[in-house]
Amino acid sequence: MASGEIVRFQRVGMRYGLGAEVLHDISFRLQAGSFHFLTGPSGAGKSSLLRLMYLAHRPSRGLISLFGRDVATVPRREVPALRRRIGVVFQDFRLIEHLSAIENVALPLRVAGGREQQVHEHVAELLRWVGLEEQIHARPSVLSGGQQQRVAIARAVIGRPQLLLADEPTGNVDEAIALRLMRLFEELNKIGTTIVIATHNQSLMERFPYPVMRLKDGELVEGNDS
């Protein structure tokens, strides 16, 4: 592994079930503390690429290395520890409906065995920071799309992940909130978190001039290593 390399994809292919390949020959490396946008038209494979990175799917071929470990050889019992180093903001938020905002955000700390008092304090503080101090005990069903998105982001960052993957994190919020969220991602990036943001938002990419990985028809046409 090169020094500080967090993610390495080498000629990776991916398919769902027995279907056709949705990603072909993807090769790239992400250094620790880097910030990247992942973009491309709808159906280009952005979400699929993120799924591979957050270990929700196995590649059909090629090599994926996360934090210096070939994920194909990581024993099942060690996968949770690897996943705790990754924060994910899902495009559809995937909040747990019967839990309040604070309980949703606390989940990563609770599954990692965090002490309840500490968990509560940290989570409440983060929710205040993302502007949801009034909605701490609200359930996702009574929150707006933008508020749900901020809860999802708070859940992704609460565990101080080394790698943060966000699928359209600013898609449902107004510009002011989008900028505030980007500032949060930048803050995390400054303390060493590697960030990958999948987005369609061209103006966001222009405003924050970070390296871009561009997908088209399942191939990485910009930012490919090979």
Binding site: R83, R94, L107, V111
Partner: protein, 291 residues
Amino acid sequence: MTLDIPLAGDAAARFLPWLIGFMVYLAAVGLALALLVIGAGEHWRAMAAGTATVQIAPLPNDGQDTREDRTTRALAMLRATPGIASAEAVPERQVLALLSPWIGSNADPAALPLPRVIDVTYQRGRPPDIRVLAANLTSIPGVTFDDHGTSLAQLTVLARTIERTALGTVALIFISMIVTIVFTTRTSLEIHRDVVEVLHLIGARDGYIARQFELQALFHGIKGGVAGLALAAATLIAVSTAAARIDAPLLPRLALSSREWIAVACVPVLAAIVAMIAARVTVLRTLAREA
């Protein structure tokens, strides 16, 4: 307590406590039956062990003196036998009293061909040689010897059969409960697949997810178990109250001792633990298979 997986809203959450309640009721009553039968077996064995009965039947053209002669000979033979603690002829009026439900209280003993009966008690720890004793006694005309062995053996077989059937039924009830928990847990896992996936993706171990199902099963087990035990206790108290009104020396006590009550009270505890373990093992095995 709020579980991360919304298991309390599942259909299984509504019927499972009822089902466990019924199963605990049946298992508790089954166990009580087994314990009562074990007690009855001991009661019968205690009644019959160490005793025998000798009957001297009247013979055709047998006068009173001759039957009394044969009784005296039998008594003498018994009292001279090593290992016999006592041998007493049952007074004729006592035999008549025992038979009064069938022959009435005004029966004339002289007009009835009644046998003489001798109650025999063996010495504790060194009983006589039964085969030699029986052979000697039956050499006297009209004498039959009953050491209660046959009836005791039959009662023992009956008691063991009932006891094993009752314990087998309890085991089957527990197996049915395990199968029910396995299927409801698998169904719940399927229903909450999305939440389980989210928990996995944020770093939850299989054990953390299994713990959620385990706690829910424990809760159902306690809820159903307490109700089932209360119902079983009411049934057992009603049975023992009804049995206490019957005056029959052969009928054993039908009331549980304190130790037996404790054993019955352990049924819901065991049911809750079994439910918890069944849920945990099901989740862990299902998740490992899907990985």
